[in-house]
């Protein structure tokens, strides 16, 4: 077996992000392998959208490494970064907002082509755009229309067409179906899965909808207050979660409420961020728990994880 094939395509190491004096991502580290789907779950303030933008360098990180196929995106020069952008793409949460209202659908989808394949003639571009529109379930004839003429689901398809037209190796999906009707969500998710299968693209799927993420991910990353607190294979996370927060999250998703006394307080900046809400908290939780591999492929950031395992 070729060892290079098991190297991670994306490796994040110790990523910190600050917005002014406030730190929003704390020492985030994980790996992503070619072709896999990794779900990122967490609630508001967990930092999952920040993580997506930091990976693509849409916002600057303060510390850490973003290794894409071995190359650190944080330290490479702007022209290399710009060249690498064709391999890492993103689909946003707001379907209409992510499209330029003054550009036709054709121009929007054509943009990556114009940037990375400037040698194409207008005719060739048009053919590619038409094919991509059909591929995402729209009609080639819709290319001359403007975003406001489409529904939310259709706009999201256009966004996906733009992101996938150059067959990127990684597609980050930031809550891509959260603003869509339930009856339409499945269409978009199935489309992403189809495109992934055809192009071998890896997906980093960010969502607060645990039930949704369960069906499409191979592995799950759980985030809380800017920290990665659990990583595991999908079935393990849903059936045998170790981190107390993951358990609370799953219980809530199943409809069981737990009253949280400090609702509303700002997340703690030091130590374990969850300790003021955690029923298992002990004085030792004032020290920040590291993400440890408790079981094969199962990482948890909790001082008491091993205890809770039994």
């Amino acid at each position: 077996m070729n060892p290079a094939a098991t190297d991670p395509m994306l490796r994040i190491a110790g990523l910190d992000v600050r917005f002014g004096p406030r730190q929003v991502l704390f020492d985030v580290s994980f790996e992503l392998f070619a072709g896999e789907t990794v779900g990122v779950v967490g609630e508001s303030g967990s930092g999952k959208s920040t993580l997506a933008r930091a990976i693509l360098r849409l916002i600057p990180a303060d510390k850490g490494a973003i290794l894409w196929r071995g190359r650190d995106l944080r330290s490479c020069d702007s022209s290399t970064l710009q060249r690498l952008r064709r391999e890492l793409q993103i689909v946003f949460q707001d379907p209409l907002g992510s499209l330029n209202p003054r550009m036709t659908v054709a121009d929007t989808i054509a943009e990556p082509l114009r940037i990375f394949e400037p040698g194409l003639s207008a005719g060739e571009r048009s053919v590619r755009i038409g094919a991509m529109l059909e591929r995402v379930g729209l009609e080639a004839g819709m290319a001359d229309r403007y975003p406001h003429e489409f529904s939310g689901g259709q706009c999201q398809r256009i966004g996906i067409a733009r992101a996938m037209i150059l067959s990127p190796a990684l597609l980050i999906c930031d809550e891509p179906v959260s603003s869509l009707d339930v009856s339409v969500q499945g269409q978009i998710v199935n489309l992403l899965l189809d495109l992934q299968r055809d192009a071998g693209t890896a997906l980093l799927f960010i969502s607060h909808n645990l039930a949704l993420v369960r069906h499409l991910s191979h592995r799950i990353l759980v985030m809380y207050a800017g920290r990665l607190i659990e990583i595991a294979a999908r079935d393990v996370v849903y059936e045998k979660p170790l981190h107390p927060y993951t358990r609370t999250l799953l219980a809530a998703a199943a409809g069981q409420a737990e009253f949280i006394a400090t609702d509303g307080a700002a997340p703690l900046q030091t130590g374990c961020a969850y300790r003021d809400r955690c029923r298992y908290a002990l004085p030792l939780c004032a020290a920040r728990p590291a993400l440890e591999e408790i079981d094969t492929g199962h990482f948890v950031a909790c001082h008491r994880a091993r205890e809770l395992l039994s």
Partner: protein, 281 residues
């Protein structure tokens, strides 16, 4: 297949006030361009037979004559030509410079924006009239200088407005999407930022035209602008002001023309803003 501009055009057409204003402006421009040829007189010919005559049919002096016997119909319309030319050209200059400057400052942000805005603040602090006088002293009196100096100052507010709009556009997700697609800053400013600025910019531009015409009229009224024997509405008003009691038509006709022009430009500008601001659906 209706674009945003088509929708805006439709809303504008439905606004009868703005439409009427637009027609009046068009009529005035047409009159200013071809009007003088409909009359046998010349703006510079001195008709000693009909000095300071009120509007009458004699000598085809439809608007009367001034102290020197020059036909006011022709002079007013030629003056209107100058005022409109100054207004439009200077507005165009301030638009182009202002958009480019403001979009770059707003998009790049940081130190660049800081420096660029300080420059604008310094220039804004200069007294306008003083600046024009200064340039006139150095370069002598010329109409081109007048155009340039007005345009050179007119871009300041436009740049500020454009920068403000750019700052808010920069936060939009489609800008992030463009960055993620690998677009360069130049491409983003030209293709994504500027086309989305159109609304407030166009409105401000149409409101700038009357301001500039007013400013030029003011300068000419003070004697700093257009010089004899040429006239702009401002110089005509200056002359007319002196003759207010004896020959009121010398003030009322150019003054009325200017007032009507400014009124219609303002109404049209308002209508344009309403048309461009409305929500899509």
């Amino acid at each position: 297949m209706r674009s945003f501009l088509d929708d805006a055009a439709r809303r504008l057409r439905a606004n009868s006030g703005a439409l009427s204003a637009m027609l009046v402006i068009a009529a005035m421009i047409l009159l200013a361009l071809i009007g003088p040829w409909l009359n046998p007189n010349h703006g510079e010919t001195l008709d000693w037979l009909h000095v300071a005559m009120r509007p009458a049919a004699q000598g085809a002096h439809w608007f009367g004559t001034d102290r020197l016997g020059r036909d006011l119909y022709v002079r007013t319309l030629e003056g209107a030509r100058v005022s409109l030319a100054v207004g439009l050209v200077a507005s165009a200059v301030s638009l182009l410079v202002g958009i480019g400057y403001g979009a770059v400052a707003g998009y790049l942000g940081g130190r660049t924006d800081h420096v660029m805005m300080r420059i604008i603040e310094i220039l804004s602090g200069l007294p306008l009239v003083f600046f024009v006088i200064f340039l006139t002293v150095i370069f002598g009196r010329s109409e081109y200088l007048l155009f340039l100096s007005i345009g050179a100052v007119g871009w300041l507010t436009m740049a500020r407005i454009v920068r403000g709009q750019t700052l808010s556009i920069r936060q939009r997700e489609y800008i992030e999407a463009a960055v993620a697609s690998g677009a360069s800053s130049r491409r983003i400013i030209v293709k994504h930022v500027i086309p989305n600025l159109i609304g407030p910019v166009v409105v401000y531009a149409t409101l700038t035209v009357p301001q500039i015409i007013m400013f030029e009229s003011f300068l000419s009224f003070l004697g700093l602008g257009i010089q004899e024997p040429h006239a702009s509405l401002g110089t005509l008003i200056a002359e007319g002001a002196g003759e207010m009691e004896a020959a009121p038509w010398m003030l009322l006709i150019p003054g009325g023309f200017l007032a009507l022009l400014l009124l219609c430009l303002n109404i049209f500008g308002d209508g344009l803003r309403d048309a461009l601001d409305a929500k899509e659906r």
